[in-house]
Symmetry: C2
Subunit: 302 residues, 2 copies
DNA sequence: GAAAACTACTTGACTCCAGCAAGTAATATC
DNA sequence: GATATTACTTGCTGGAGTCAAGTAGTTTTC
């Protein structure tokens, strides 16, 4: 099913479940639009009425009347703005804030009541998933992503995602997962911190990608491993950044060469390697993980 | 932040992002309520108007007028019901269906346009997360969960969740993850299918828990390992089910005894073990994974 | 088996949310 | 300093949605 249709299906069910479309806000004297205006006013970033109208997609005339009503009820003070006599500075009174607080509390209680049948961990899990969804719907900016060292859970995540990704996209069989698991187990157990390093690209709590620099066995030669990027984190220069970090670390650690092996079918990765100055040194057909592959070796002088 | 507040924050942002509160549906001649009615009619489960009104939380009088309007426009046929002359059977005409289809298409295009700036994988990722959230908001029923053997990605998931869970809840240090990783690597690599088995509890694509039955080294004695349940999957008898499956397998495989070790602080797990007939055979303080723990051994005759 | 209670739906009367368009007054632009 | 633009207000209006009282058919009750 198409993602758009899946999102629409979610909208239908969610609005019903959460009761989002109840027109009148909890039996209060306020319409939904009025509530939104009150809420926006409470944030009090000093927007003039016009911007408020645009933000909330409301008619300016209607908004004017709403504000007038708020003022009449003593919730709002509209004083002519000093900078521009056409404008009026909008400031909620303490009473206005109290009304909103009461409204918010009721909305909160209403939602809590709806979710009461569910166990507490489910609430947290749902909130997590919703926040995740929202973050997926917000363009990922490369500078929100930071590269850090490996932390608890990262190894498991990498094993899981490698197994899933290569199974789904390249048909790798079950023998691939323990291989990756062994690599990571060894890394965690016998890692030489001076010459070996993992970089995990993460956007907050979300893991997006990885790259490892480890010893190859041959002195002075580093090996690049476990270069991975989540599909939706591609195309924002993150792969390049990971590779740069890895190369930078290798240079700093005193290696004079870096090698890696990959499979021909990884077009995107191969392109990044080539662009970074790696050269192809060997290419041979193999049968691994239940698939016919062309294994390629790359190297670069540091 | 409280989950309820996080969900409310999501609602605010999401409705804005997706444009859920646009009252008039895409400039069509229909109100949002009318659209919902039309949609519900298209599902055509032959509900009488009254149930329709309750489902959509609409005033019956208003609904009556809406249906009348649909009929006048030739979208709907209201024939007196055979079973009950008060009722009228509601059936959309082909034209009615066409109108809805057109509306749906436009709503779809509208959403697609809103999401167009995002890369395609992000759409799928968002849809995934939204569906996840919805499933968290639906009470987990034990019978929707099935127990299966280990599959690609499961080992990585287990490693990740063990590392995260024990780090968050028991303060285990980074040495715990490679231990779990090694256990799983070995299991995948040298598992004896006749006498060793993993059960993964899964609700569709979501992994909820696990239990392993492996050889202990002593002939005739099985070892229970990696018993884990996601916090929100507890309390529905799933732990019991996993344990039963494990014990059942062990009996079938010809073991005469099963042992396990755990830590005293795992109250819930210990309670399940005791209830199943396990007896505590040893208890000793240890310092593991950066924590002072009391290691406990249990056993049961099969 | 007839009155009473109830159900399914309709209709009239009303409220008020909200959109449109034409204002007024202040500011910006040239 | 004339013209255009901006910020806001107000009059008018449609129609979405509500409330209550209706009509006609069905079930319950004794």
């Amino acid at each position: 099913m198409d993602p758009i249709d899946r999102i629409r299906a979610f909208n239908r069910q969610y609005t019903q479940l959460i009761g989002l479309l109840s027109r009148t806000y909890l039996g209060s004297a306020l319409s939904l639009s009025e509530t939104r205006v009150l809420y926006e006013l409470s944030l009090g970033s000093g927007q003039p009425a016009r911007t408020l109208a645009r933000m909330l997609d409301l008619d300016e005339g209607y908004l004017s009347r709403v504000l007038k009503g708020f003022e009449a009820r003593g919730w709002l003070i509209r004083a002519p703005a000093a900078s521009d006599a056409r404008r009026r500075d909008l400031a909620l009174t303490a009473e206005g804030r109290a009304v909103l607080a009461d409204l918010e509390r009721r909305a909160r209680d209403d939602l809590a009541a709806r979710l009461a049948p569910l166990p507490a961990p489910a609430h947290a899990a749902a909130a997590d998933a919703l926040e995740t969804a929202l973050s997926r719907l917000t363009p990922l900016s490369a500078d929100a992503v930071n590269l850090r060292d490996i932390a608890p859970g990262d190894a498991g995540w990498l094993i899981q995602r490698h197994a899933e990704y290569y199974s789904e996209n390249y048909g790798f069989d079950a023998s691939f997962e323990p291989l990756v698991a062994q690599i990571l187990t060894d890394f965690l157990n016998v890692r030489d911190r001076a010459t070996e390093r993992a970089f995990i690209a993460a956007d907050g709590a979300r893991r997006l990608g990885s790259i490892f620099c480890v010893q190859s066995g041959t002195p002075g030669v580093a090996k690049l491993r476990l270069f991975f990027l989540e599909p939706d984190a591609r195309g924002i220069g993150l792969g390049q950044r990971l590779l740069d970090a890895c190369l930078g670390f290798a240079r700093g650690a005193g290696y004079r060469q870096m090698t890696l092996w990959t499979h021909e079918s990884h077009r995107a990765a191969c392109a990044i390697y080539a662009k970074a100055g790696f050269t192809l040194t060997a290419s041979k057909p193999v049968h691994s993980f239940g698939q016919d592959l062309v294994e390629q070796s790359f190297e670069i002088a540091l």
